[in-house]
Symmetry: C5
Subunit: 342 residues, 5 copies
Amino acid sequence: MGQQPHINGSHTLTGAPRVKITVIDYDATRYEEHETTCVEDCFPFRDTDSVTWINIDGLGDQEIIRKIGEQFSIHPLILEDIQNTGQRPTVEDLEGYIYLTLKMLQYQEKSHEIEIEHVTLIIGARYVISFQENVGDVFDPVRDRIRKDGRIRKFGSDYLAYSLIDAIVDNYFAVIEHLEERVELIEGEVTLNPTRAALGQINDLKRDMIFLRKSVWPLREVIAHLEQTDSPIIHDTIRIYLRDVYDHTIQVIDTLEIFRDLLAGMIDIYLSSLSNRLNEVMKVLTIIATIFIPLTFITGIYGMNFTYIPLLDWWYGYFMIMGVMTTIGLFMVLFFRKRGWI
Amino acid sequence: MGQQPHINGSHTLTGAPRVKITVIDYDATRYEEHETTCVEDCFPFRDTDSVTWINIDGLGDQEIIRKIGEQFSIHPLILEDIQNTGQRPTVEDLEGYIYLTLKMLQYQEKSHEIEIEHVTLIIGARYVISFQENVGDVFDPVRDRIRKDGRIRKFGSDYLAYSLIDAIVDNYFAVIEHLEERVELIEGEVTLNPTRAALGQINDLKRDMIFLRKSVWPLREVIAHLEQTDSPIIHDTIRIYLRDVYDHTIQVIDTLEIFRDLLAGMIDIYLSSLSNRLNEVMKVLTIIATIFIPLTFITGIYGMNFTYIPLLDWWYGYFMIMGVMTTIGLFMVLFFRKRGWI
Amino acid sequence: MGQQPHINGSHTLTGAPRVKITVIDYDATRYEEHETTCVEDCFPFRDTDSVTWINIDGLGDQEIIRKIGEQFSIHPLILEDIQNTGQRPTVEDLEGYIYLTLKMLQYQEKSHEIEIEHVTLIIGARYVISFQENVGDVFDPVRDRIRKDGRIRKFGSDYLAYSLIDAIVDNYFAVIEHLEERVELIEGEVTLNPTRAALGQINDLKRDMIFLRKSVWPLREVIAHLEQTDSPIIHDTIRIYLRDVYDHTIQVIDTLEIFRDLLAGMIDIYLSSLSNRLNEVMKVLTIIATIFIPLTFITGIYGMNFTYIPLLDWWYGYFMIMGVMTTIGLFMVLFFRKRGWI
Amino acid sequence: MGQQPHINGSHTLTGAPRVKITVIDYDATRYEEHETTCVEDCFPFRDTDSVTWINIDGLGDQEIIRKIGEQFSIHPLILEDIQNTGQRPTVEDLEGYIYLTLKMLQYQEKSHEIEIEHVTLIIGARYVISFQENVGDVFDPVRDRIRKDGRIRKFGSDYLAYSLIDAIVDNYFAVIEHLEERVELIEGEVTLNPTRAALGQINDLKRDMIFLRKSVWPLREVIAHLEQTDSPIIHDTIRIYLRDVYDHTIQVIDTLEIFRDLLAGMIDIYLSSLSNRLNEVMKVLTIIATIFIPLTFITGIYGMNFTYIPLLDWWYGYFMIMGVMTTIGLFMVLFFRKRGWI
Amino acid sequence: MGQQPHINGSHTLTGAPRVKITVIDYDATRYEEHETTCVEDCFPFRDTDSVTWINIDGLGDQEIIRKIGEQFSIHPLILEDIQNTGQRPTVEDLEGYIYLTLKMLQYQEKSHEIEIEHVTLIIGARYVISFQENVGDVFDPVRDRIRKDGRIRKFGSDYLAYSLIDAIVDNYFAVIEHLEERVELIEGEVTLNPTRAALGQINDLKRDMIFLRKSVWPLREVIAHLEQTDSPIIHDTIRIYLRDVYDHTIQVIDTLEIFRDLLAGMIDIYLSSLSNRLNEVMKVLTIIATIFIPLTFITGIYGMNFTYIPLLDWWYGYFMIMGVMTTIGLFMVLFFRKRGWI
């Protein structure tokens, strides 16, 4: 995004074909962690009583997705949708599992761009499978809490799903902070110097906003649905957590709406700054022209070659006319000062 | 559409009178395909246990529509509406069949225009009748899947209807991709060179958007209704597919909304580019006039014909005055540079 | 409307006092038609088993309305509302009859204006009473179908009411077609020549749109209510017809919304055309002034009366200076060409 | 309102402390009317079987309100709210009475201002108490109808309440008519002469509109609530009357919305008139400057003091040059005419 | 807020670490008040039958919040949220208590800024705990009423909670009054003198509005929820009070909406004032240039050095030409007066 945001309307996938699979299996007493590229490695964990989190980085290998679908009896349509990275956040209660997609945002320090990654969660009774477009995510705090025997170890797969969603939504705040900085920066610039570049930046920001809204807005309904679902996978103890994420999502949406209004105001400022600048330019022109055009006319009069022109022959004629012109000029200056133009 | 989009508000039909009828009849084990211009040929398939898809290209022949209506007991009003190509997408559960209309969009490579075609589906328990305005559609993938014994052969008429709708919605993405290209093209142009032609193109695009919205927006409710209907024609196994088409429709609508915002932003850029350009023109005028008008005044002074004007008789007078004028000119240039106008 | 649209907010009625009453009484086997100015003539039809349509043109005679109200036991408030031509479309289920008002639009070929007429329908079990402001309506096709023993003769008063509403809504399409023509006409004009008259026309159209919206928009709910009412007057067989009118109403509303967007776009075009034109004017001024002001300054130099000015005494001085000025002029022209101003 | 509208957000009351109390007590057979400043005078009517209307002009005397509250067992909070004139229209079903507030609008002929007065109704089973800010109201027609033994005398307190509300809503139409006149007046002015005063007037109107909307908009819900309430105070026979007021309220809201759109259009016209005017000014400047600047340059050439300038010595030189300049001038005029500037 | 409003999107807390705890314990007969910094001091009040209000100023000490959470069995998530000052107003019915957050606004006389403070209420059966960001609040009237044995002493914790909310909402009116003053001040300024500073102030106000809306808007739902909740903590007698606060909240929102419209109108005025000013500047330039450029041309003609120029040798030539030029000048002035430019 940023300079060249993509309008994610395509069905096809341009992700890298390299796929990385990580399995974390835990219960209140123990935890183990595996990294593999062979999808079969994670099937044994399917039937354990412990909670299993299978994370798949990269959607390029259709075979892997097909195999997982088979093992965990996921509907073929869902498998297709996992690879449709242009899809909006959505949730569906299905036979034995919940299908949920959302957008992971990451601010790239280097390129000053916001990276949007499509994430799919398959939430089962005792497992969560997460599909990501690329390696690199915002789930490290969740992994740490599992490793360090945090509260998460005492709960089931629903709490794990909550933790993943919460990690993603928490990261929205970080992204928004960066946007906030950019908004403030541009705001200062626009008021002082309404360059075309500044307008370009406002429009880039607006564009970013539009894409963020598209990513975050539907999440509201998704989480509300998850909170109210009667699926046995989501336990009642988890609902308060989901409501908390819900509130955070609304907070993100509110902030985006505010940005939107601020940006609209900035375009107003920009346009009126342009007008102001034109006014200024025209004032300079008008002052100079209005003072000197009449004076030049007077010199023109005494530059005519008539046989007889009064004053011309008078020794002090020149000085008198210069005096008259100075008077006219001063009068003009006073007129402009009175009007507040100078 | 494109250059001269039609506002489809008319009741009358200007379609070609030539009508082409195609019948595809299949079940899990066999499939047959017929092309005819005689509507009676397809009546024998009505009472078979297999799924029958009757496709009618061209709405010009009222007799054919009347006969089909009689054979399949379709309400006379529905038969009238089939020919009202200006109608918005709609769905109705009726005695023994579902009536559904939607818009098929096709991007014409040659004319760079988007063609909107009105499509009506009559979905019965064991048949689907599709009415199109002209020959040429986006259903070939569906035909291929029937011929190649795809999953479709195992399902009933509801899945066939889903497949047809899905084919149409899938094609929206192709149309949107072309729009995306045009948006990007115009965007570059507008920033660099705000010609009147560019504004015309933005308005053409906006107009296309408005018509697309009109075509796609009501589809949302149509498919939602189809998914939630308690008609026995739609089986429960099909609902997940319908929900998938529903999600795609929302995705299309979202993208159109984004385009809409982008176009609104482009008009802002266009107008401010015009202002910028005026500012630039005025700056050039102001700089030239402000430098040379006072200098011309000075030459006017020494062009007057007074008997006595100081300096005139002095040998170096000319050079001194030229020096003074050069100084004034340079001072002006510095003034403008300080203001950032040069 | 058109040139001087009326804001119908008044309670009083300015209709003509002349009242014309037409009675059409029919069943499946026979039909009779009477025209009278004496309201008592139509009371005998009240208690027949056949369907009776009493049409009253002109709301000026309170006595007639009072008498009808008495005969058909219509609530006094409804009788008052019949004469309130400023009322918006509305529907009410009452004891023994349905009260329904809507707006009849007619395009006047001569004055190029859209005439809005307030129509009230009182739908009883075996009769329909229609009140119109003036003589002249869009109901002739309905009368023809009754006379020619059409489908309408087999149905009851509910179908008659439907037919009247349908005739009115069908006429909206004719009105919209005329608006469409005007929109296209103005569109061409605005782009080529942004005169103040064009803006006036856009605003007239916008105004017409606003009044049309006000007339059509509430009709949506009115017909939806009629379709879903549990009043015994509306039979189930009629619902499909009402739903059809409903769809047409939505189609009209959609088209008006599109017009609205198009008109908004036209104002953008108009304003930017004004800006463009100003830019053009300023360019001409700037080019001429920028070329000739410096040259005039040069002539001013050599017009000064100093004792010694280089070149003045030189025989070829004039030609040289003329050459210099030509060079400067050409250079300016090149500069402007490079900037794309010429 | 009008010139200096008040934003009624304050809790405190600035009404006059003088309080006038009027009691009208009636049933189908008799009626009596009292005016007093002593609140105790109206308590005897509380327990009669006839309908009692107590009208209180002036909210300045807290003691009176407290006493009434005690006598009619009104909740202390409601008593507080009666004096909060900034409150929006609202309705509440309470133990034994209905509490309802709305805004009474009156157009002041003298000051050309719209006066907003806060009115509270306490509707009991057999009484209505109305609180007004000041003496002077729109209830005279209701009083007349009571005095003249109108239909109102046959109904209970609910019909009285309806009559009061109806009188207030009916007066909205009068206020709107005045606004309509102002809108039309300003519209003519803006098109012909876009003075700053006209913009000021548009903004005053807009401001009035905003305050009217604030006053009228919530009334919609208030009356809808009243119509649908199951309070025993409102009888079923009254509902049709309430629905009628409801329709009138919607009509007022619709008209205000139309005004709003018209005013928005007028600002467009105003701004484009400004642009047009600038264009015109610039055209005059450009025409004059473009014709005479080049010609002045030519005179400058022949005003130079070179020893040898062609034509100067020729007897007809002057006439030839004058001819050349006339030709150039005419050519310029033709150029401008071709461009449609003259 | 005001000059540098903060976008409260951060999770972290920057409040002062100093924490002040105040306990007020009362019933209908007695009341006691304690101030402490040691959280354990307020636990004894937990199990009394009297109503206890624990107010905590400062959210910096996590330990205190943790201990309170433990003592009053508050969910850990709620404890986390108490410190998230960026959260929007929200309410939640939980096991044994109601969690409610809202924004306390205070206008700072000195800095002319609006201070937003995040307030959390934990409402239990017999206690209310209030958490504030800093010392200093709007609750003094509530404290006074408790001390002075007001109505509040007869009710339970739900009335206390209502009183606190009411105090906060009441203060919104004070804040709005200050905004109103600023709006009026700026309005006068903008019309007379559209400086860039004025636009800046409009934008500051707009920004303040946006933040206020964000703070107040969700409160509507919060109080509506509280009014309709079936939690045993809120008694039926309190609902009428809550409905009153609800009405006040709507009143605040309405006023903010009006401000919003007024500010939008002010930007229109600002921009058109800029245009007006440009028009004025251009008129001055045009008048001067149009009068003097042709005249200067005439002087140029008679300044040419042709051997023979008519009139030059004539003694009265000069006077005649001066007369001609005066005539032209006067004609120009008349022309401009006719156009209404002078």
